[in-house]
Symmetry: C2
Subunit: 355 residues, 2 copies
């Protein structure tokens, strides 16, 4: 295992300490339970946006805490869900009275623990809602969850809803926007290499020198297929078309509404010609930005040919899987409301513009 780390049990803690040391103007870190929170939290009158999940996907989520994005992020151990007390205490720390929105990637552990945290927060009188992110078109049901996994769309939803909260949206409006943005986003990933969880000390899966995994999840969970390496253009074309031609996706999600868990039937409508999108080409960690540009080049071609207009883009390592080489593509339909909040200023360790 070749990593810039010290003792394995300290990996997450020391990375958090480094982030706290580097960005004291933006964030603070609370330890035991661990959460990253805005240096100026709670922000008076503002809905607090909280996310979290296993570590190993940095800068997501801790690197997205700051003005215009998250109020707090709860990191679990590497590739391991955070515990309910992390979200609950984070909610207490950043709630200004306007309530808390939990943005939850669809993995069984994350979902259960955020639900428990929501119940705890509600019982303490904190207005709270939860919105599920489930955007991965590669597989339905996987090792880690029922339904679609939450991947690249998470980054975009955190930016968009974070800006809306900053602009004064109330809790219900933030939840509605998050639900919409999630329904507008679809993603797919692939891997060229495996990665090593420090506690395991060896790669989480093996892959031949001429192989890639098509449709991989962000924890290295299997995708659609193991296949021979193909040129970037062919690969990008395949992935883009899986996303663009994806059919309507229906499922039932549980949301907390006024303290009651209710089932909601949600349908993500497919893309159609004429749609404007935000295009996000993401490195899994070990792939350099130069290769992402080769992918973006073809993605722009495919979108143009399919009548999809890319109006904004984000290219770089934002939701990673440790040092895994590979990339993911996310397209998110962009209406005026979404574009307004995408363009709004953001100042976090991992994403910054306009300020």
């Amino acid at each position: 295992m070749k990593k810039l780390i010290n003792a394995v049990p300290d990996v997450v803690k020391e990375q958090l300490e480094g982030m706290a040391a580097a960005h004291p103007d933006l964030i603070k870190v609370h330890y035991e339970p661990d959460y990253v929170y805005r240096a100026d939290a709670p922000v008076a009158g503002k809905v607090a946006i909280i996310s979290g999940g296993g570590s190993g996907h940095e800068p997501m989520h801790g690197g997205f805490v700051g003005m215009g994005m998250l109020d707090a992020a709860c990191p679990g151990a590497v590739f391991t869900s955070p515990t309910p007390d992390q979200m609950y205490e984070a909610a207490q720390a950043v709630n200004s009275g306007a309530g808390v929105l939990f943005l939850v990637k669809n993995y069984t552990g994350d979902v259960l623990n955020f639900e428990m945290a929501a119940d705890m927060a509600y019982a303490e009188g904190i207005p709270v809602q939860n919105i599920l992110i489930d955007d991965d078109v590669a597989v339905k049901d996987s090792l880690y969850t029922a339904g679609r996994r939450g991947v690249g769309t998470t980054v975009l939803v955190e930016k968009i809803v974070g800006a809306a909260a900053e602009a004064g949206y109330n809790l219900e409006q933030c939840a509605d926007l998050a639900r919409k943005a999630n329904s507008y986003g679809r993603s797919m990933g692939m891997a060229l290499t495996s990665c090593t969880v420090p506690a395991a000390g060896k790669p989480i899966f093996e892959m031949g020198d001429d192989e890639m995994e098509f449709g991989i999840g962000i924890h290295g969970e299997p995708g659609q297929k193991r296949m021979k390496l193909i040129p970037a253009d062919e690969l990008t074309d395949m992935m883009a078309k899986e996303i663009i031609h994806d059919k309507a996706y229906s499922r039932t999600v549980r949301e907390l509404v006024d303290g009651q868990w209710v089932d909601k039937e949600l349908v993500d409508e497919p893309f159609k010609r004429g749609d404007k999108v935000i295009a996000f080409v993401n490195s899994m960690g070990g792939t350099p930005v130069s290769e992402l540009y080769a992918v973006y080049r073809k993605l722009a071609e495919v979108c143009a040919a399919e009548g999809i207009e890319i109006v904004r883009n984000l290219i770089g390592p934002y939701i990673t899987s440790l040092e895994m080489a590979g990339m993911s593509i996310t397209l998110l339909k962009a209406d005026d409301e979404i574009l307004k909040f995408w363009d709004a200023p953001v100042k976090t360790p991992g994403l910054r513009w306009g300020v």
Copy 2:
């Protein structure tokens, strides 16, 4: 070779095409000869800042073209110097009449070709100066150059001098600031893995599973020593102290002054207690940002113990070596002039804040 590429001869061109497609508001790309230039160039009355070098270090340099940083960047083939006609034509394209400053990393090919380009530009009536970046404390003289290699300080000098040009500094003032900023910066790098130049198709060197290269250059050229992997704290401490305790560094550089090549004796003074610095922790490409934060944590400790005050930082993959895993540390003494221009707005594909 596992990369997101198509045919090997097209790698650089297609990456440039992707960058042009992604950022038409910021940059344009000219092909044959290849250079990236500001979409709004030439900027009336402004000194044009131009850099360049082999590809494979992205986002440097093409990703740093834009408001507040470079006016143009000239990419060679991977790890190969660009040709004089690239810099010369770029200079013609972006010169507004206020002249052109070439920022040249100290590699023999880059130095020679930028000198030829400077002669060509001067002969055409373009006011031109060149400043050498030579900040790598790991080795004196290497496979690629005489004297210290130009590494991480390049990114910081491009930002600082780019902002000064934006603020109206004339050519001589820009050159003076670049010379000073270079003399204030020192760097050192290390590698956990090798990397593969596409045209070669195999790793540029071999390294054992338990080994690292201490003091590596950005083209994988050997450093001070091959050694067993050590914990991040120990490694960071060694590297930081190599930088902080580095002695005065004297050498002769050639600069173009009013069309004449003159030798200048330059001395970089060592750091001393009480110095304020910009600290830059850089990924070589394959190392994720989470590990960089572990390094930053220790770097902040070492600097504090040595009486060096980190007043700004930059953490991420900015001067890379393809997909190499590893990192570099740069410390650059920050006086008021340097801090003012560091903090100034910048809007490029690879670095953005304040706007």
